[in-house]
Symmetry: C2
Subunit: 725 residues, 2 copies
């Protein structure tokens, strides 16, 4: 093993050290006056109460799943014996990332509002540095978890040859991702239901019916809404991107072990490369973070430019330094090409999402314009634009995939496995600078909450304007962040499917099939290639089992969204009833004489989220087992492909439609087409309401769904084989 | 060739003879008073003007495509020489089916209203018999076209052996479907844009803003709305189902030729069986049609029971008689099992769609209930329910597919081709009684128009109630009909993909590749099996080209919907502006003193439809060629699978969400949750507005998209191979 390995844990610790430093710096800032502190306290309390409740439920589910995995592993010998333990650590770290992120965000909002009283620049610094805590915590914990298990397994896994040992080690590590994936899915779905129930409830009754502004303290759901920003957009997103980041690294490492199986001198290096690129990305993200500064001009554009500058520094640095790193590892410039292809693909996806969701461009403005004809045209327009918006990201991924595959395989048909490794590395490249991109992403909800705090505390109008400027940029960076998450998921999922096929190979040996018949010839199982396994299992597109699997997979993506949308609808209805009840029963709320019962709204959101998040999560875990038992390997791979093809496109559609509706509403609020309070505005608010679960509940959970289902298939591979043979 | 063949043309002629008889009978009915006649005249005129314009555009496009196909066939020898001609006839017949259907429907509406003055039973008879004209015309023309080309090719196609001749004949015939598919797609999309622009425009301004009832003569868009029912729901649906029916027969025939290639005594019978089942279906549909009679109880339930009775007679008859037919043809009971599996699958899909769209059941009622919370929850609820509703039809198709494959292959792995033939026959089974199911489907818009006529002519209230009762049933049968269309499309598409692979075999020989290397062995191209071809072209799910194709395919389904949704949005905006303008500028419209300018609204819908339908249609034809040139066969099949998996689920989602919104609105109009004019009703109308393009423009066109793209791939197979080798 290359000594460079130690870069990974060192980078992880460095990231966490800086995260702690930024956190302490933030705590030293003033939290403002009494009112501001007390409002921040409410939000913090609600968020922590939610998280406590969430982790209780997650803990129970994890114990159940760990027992199930242990039975599979020890009872039936159908699974690697490390999985039950590793499942718990990755879930724990993923939860920890969410917890730290939220701890920071809930402490930062009032401080950001207070800082914004002085200047936009000061507000930006507090919010962005707090976002950086989250970004650095995610990448730091991920690399630490990776390094820890890497070292454990390195000393505990044995096989006939060193090359096989590496292969076994990396394939085992892939299954470790299931803990992170399960936690991420629950965090995304639970947080998404919480935040959107509160948001929809607050908007529908407060804005539309009672005609009071957003974040008005008279609205009983307003604290729940602000809590929601934290549990959904911070804790949920943190867990989500932890999973994406961790998943891309372990998937690429496993493909590296397969691709360089016959070159033992390079195999270790290929396995280490993804984590080392991650380590490089951490150092460059730090440099980028220190490069984010707004000049004297205090406009939204200046903020975006400042953030972009930081990201560009990190990205360009990564392109240059990774070239030398990969050369040093002996992997060559063609592998570097694959990495860069991934990075560029990510940027193109981000720009494509920005085009379709920013009010700077035509699509979103057209939706605003349609608001003059009513809510129907707004919805139709948003759905139409969202569906059309899938073209750019899909082409970007297709071209990125073919370049990554082509570069890494040097356009030789025989180098199929190297090509797959290239695709895995492309996903790593896309997420390599996550430390800073996530910082720009996580700062959005902080700014959003700061605005809420400013509004509720009655701070001067210009403070709210400044936080609004910060928040608006946050919407764009959030759309970009979702693009990265889903783009990398598409590439990672392909890599994971390859790992699944590799796991089948181990599984065949485990059930005693040391020799199999491929295309009429007897072959030793340990010698078959991935492509030969595809022939052996008949995973081609005329096999009805593959097509049935595809139908089921595609359906699952839709049903998953349907269930989560309905959950938001149900929870929002309860919230609407409660807000209406409070307006009706508590006299004097609207005149400001009586205080609404905030905590009851928080409780409604919490309970709904906890109850509703279980079913969709279980669905993703159970179906790979059921389909495997009924339709065999061909059905499982078909299902994964179906979920991937549908879910990828569906996720972009939902994220972009939701973002466009939100910004179309904001565009009208800026004074276009009648401005706030006009009929057009009301129509746009309805659009935004529909967009809420699109962009913050169902849509962003899909990228986790893709990976969770694949990892669940890997975990269930032994059972599938046992049923099939 | 079996002499039974002649049953097909005889059945076709019988169907047309009865269609003519029903048409003449209907014409003999009274068309009511002066006002009723003049309103029917407006609608007829508008519809015919639209169709004339539509066919002009289609004609030009067809000439262009025919030249393109001729160049491919004669210039580059990349395509069979019959395609350019057959392309034209199937397109012509498909257009003719739409024309006859519309001619009947526009003549029937006032007569139905007049008949409903007497009794519900009389209204039903006129409307249903007129619908039967459409149903019988579609199946009659399809079997005639089939028989004609069958006889032509039988005498003109030559090959080394009789078995190869049959194979060449049927593969050639599959490509003939492209004409029907292109025309169907244009009819569905054009008609869908027309009708929904008018409907949305009429609803948004008339119902919501001006608070006047549906079909009120004061609404300038009301005639356009009624014209739309005819061009979209009659002409569009007719062309659509012509294509589905024709497509399922030729696809199954082609699979029969492949499956029984080595049993020359059975091959002809297997090829003829699909058409003969169709012929059987025609005779049984006629018996069923004569069995539709309402008793003395005049309720909606009685109507549904009467229609169901007719359908059951036909279906049960088919199950029984087809057993003897297939035994006689020597194909055996196991093939019959596949056919029945398809028929049952269709019924389950229909029931599943009914459950999710009928206000009799919980899902739709929940949407109505949400209307009390506002338009946002209605939309979220409908989207959620629509997405969840995909589960039943997908499981039905998956189980139906596996049974059909299992029965036909007698659960033997070696009988792969027989299994595929079984899936093809399942699609035929699903559509076999189309003569009567389409009649129950086409009667819906006739009843709808009759209601419009009654409203505008100021007929007594009970007449409108009777036509409303007829219309409500029409909504349910329409949802069922769409379920059949999309379910059969999923099965047919798989059969067509198999035909594509077969065409590749011919194509390889055509470009001089008489011997290819499969799995390291040299094989004569004429001897390779379909599965070997999948290996040769590397069409497995780890091939990145396959996955890229899948992403593109899935994206195309979404972008297609996006483009058509946007087209409806644009056209509806124009309509809204126009209706508002007329209300504003023509004094006295709302008091009934002045007449609105109906024709201008018709013109707006017509022009929008013509302009907007070209791009999505061209997209479906061009992409198979482009993807074939760039990604080769693996990419094309990946794309088809991606479109199939996504498009199938998307189509069900859109059809069911749209149907549920429509019926949720109707449920409120019946007096629930505040009834007509309440806030809940307004919210439900917005839901219905969004649902309109879902269920009548984008959704139902997807089933044609699946097949058109596959047939375009078959036509482009030669070009793809020329680029790849």
């Amino acid at each position: 093993m290359n000594g460079l390995f130690w870069l990974a844990p060192i980078a992880g610790i460095t990231a966490l050290w800086f995260a702690a430093r930024f956190y302490k710096e933030m705590l030293r800032e003033s939290e403002g006056d009494e009112t501001m502190r007390s409002i921040a306290g409410y939000v913090r309390e609600g968020a922590m109460a939610y998280l406590k409740q969430q982790y209780k439920v997650v803990f129970r589910l994890f114990v159940g799943l760990a027992i199930f995995l242990a039975i599979l592993a020890y009872g039936f010998k159908l699974q690697n014996e490390w999985v039950p333990f590793a499942f718990l650590t990755s879930g724990f770290f993923s939860g920890l990332a969410g917890f730290f992120g939220m701890k920071t965000a809930t402490s930062a909002s009032a401080r950001t509002a207070e800082a914004a009283r002085h200047s936009l620049n000061k507000g930006l610094t507090v919010a962005f540095r707090s976002g950086a805590v989250m970004g650095l915590t995610v990448v730091g914990l991920a690399l630490l978890d990776y390094s820890f298990w890497f070292l454990v397994l390195k000393n505990c896994v044995y096989a006939a040859s060193e090359a096989e040992r590496v292969l076994l080690l990396t394939t085992t590590m892939v299954t470790f991702g299931i803990g992170a994936s399960v936690n991420a899915l629950l965090a995304r779905v639970g947080g998404g239901i919480f935040t959107k129930a509160a948001d929809v409830g607050a908007d529908l009754v407060g804005k539309v019916e009672a005609n009071i502004p957003e974040d008005d303290p008279r609205n009983p759901a307003t604290i729940a809404d602000n809590v929601g920003d934290n549990v959904g957009d911070v804790a949920g997103m943190g867990a989500d991107l932890y999973e994406s980041y961790y998943g891309s690294i372990i998937a690429a490492a496993s493909l590296g072990a397969i691709a360089f199986f016959r070159q033992p001198d390079l195999q270790w290096n290929a396995v280490l490369a993804p984590a080392l690129i991650g380590a490089l990305g951490i150092f460059l993200s730090l440099i980028g973070i220190f490069n984010v500064k707004v000049g004297s001009v205090e406009t939204g554009k200046a903020i975006l430019k400042a953030l972009d500058h930081g990201i560009h520094v990190a990205a360009i640095g990564l392109v240059v330094l990774s070239y030398f790193l990969l050369q040093w590892l002996g992997l060559g410039a063609h592998i570097w090409g694959a990495l860069v292809a991934g990075l560029v693909t990510g940027i193109v996806i981000g720009k494509g999402c920005e085009y379709y969701t920013s009010a700077e461009y035509k699509p979103t403005r057209l939706i605003s314009e349609k608001a003059e004809s009513g809510a129907g045209p707004v919805i139709i327009g948003g759905l139409g634009a969202g569906m059309s918006s899938t073209m750019i990201p899909v082409f970007a991924v297709v071209i990125g995939m073919s370049l990554a595959f082509g570069f890494a395989s040097q356009f030789q048909v025989s180098a199929f496995n190297e090509g797959l490794y290239g695709i895995g590395l492309a996903a790593v490249g896309m997420l390599s600078t996550l430390g800073i991109t996530l910082a720009t992403d996580a700062y959005g909800p902080i700014a959003d909450n700061a605005g809420g705090n400013a509004e509720m505390s009655g701070l001067p109008k210009e403070v709210r304007q400044r936080t609004d400027a910060l928040d608006a940029i946050g919407n764009t960076t959030a759309a970009t962040g979702k693009g990265f998450a889903i783009g990398s998921a598409a590439l990672t999922a392909l890599a994971l499917i390859a790992s699944y096929v590799q796991e089948l190979k181990c599984g065949l040996t485990r059930i005693g099939k040391d020799v199999i018949t491929v295309n009429g010839e007897l072959v030793k199982t340990s010698d078959v290639s991935l492509v030969q396994l595809m022939h052996f299992f008949e995973v081609h597109l005329l096999n009805p089992k593959v097509l049935m699997g595809m139908f089921i997979g595609s359906m699952l993506a839709f049903v998953f969204c349907g269930i989560t949308m309905n959950a938001v609808g149900r929870a929002a209805s309860k919230m609407v009833d409660e807000v209406r009840r409070q307006f009706r029963e508590i006299k004097g709320i609207l005149t400001g004489e009586a205080k609404p019962d905030y905590s009851r709204c928080v409780r409604i959101s919490t309970e709904s989220a906890q109850r509703e998040m279980i079913l969709p999560a279980l669905m993703c875990i159970i179906f790979p087992f059921v389909v495997g038992a009924c339709l065999g390997v061909a059905g499982v791979i078909g299902m994964l492909a179906g979920t991937l093809a549908s879910g990828f496109v569906l996720a972009i559609f939902m994220a972009n439609a939701g973002g466009a509706w939100d910004n179309a509403k904001k565009y009208i609020e800026e004074g276009h087409f009648g401005g706030k309070g006009s009929e057009a505005h009301k129509a746009a608010v309805i659009g935004d309401t529909v967009g809420d679960p699109f962009k913050d509940t169902s849509g962003p959970a899909l990228n986790i769904l893709l990976k969770l289902m694949t990892i669940a298939s890997i975990v269930g591979a032994g059972l599938t084989l046992a049923c099939q043979f």
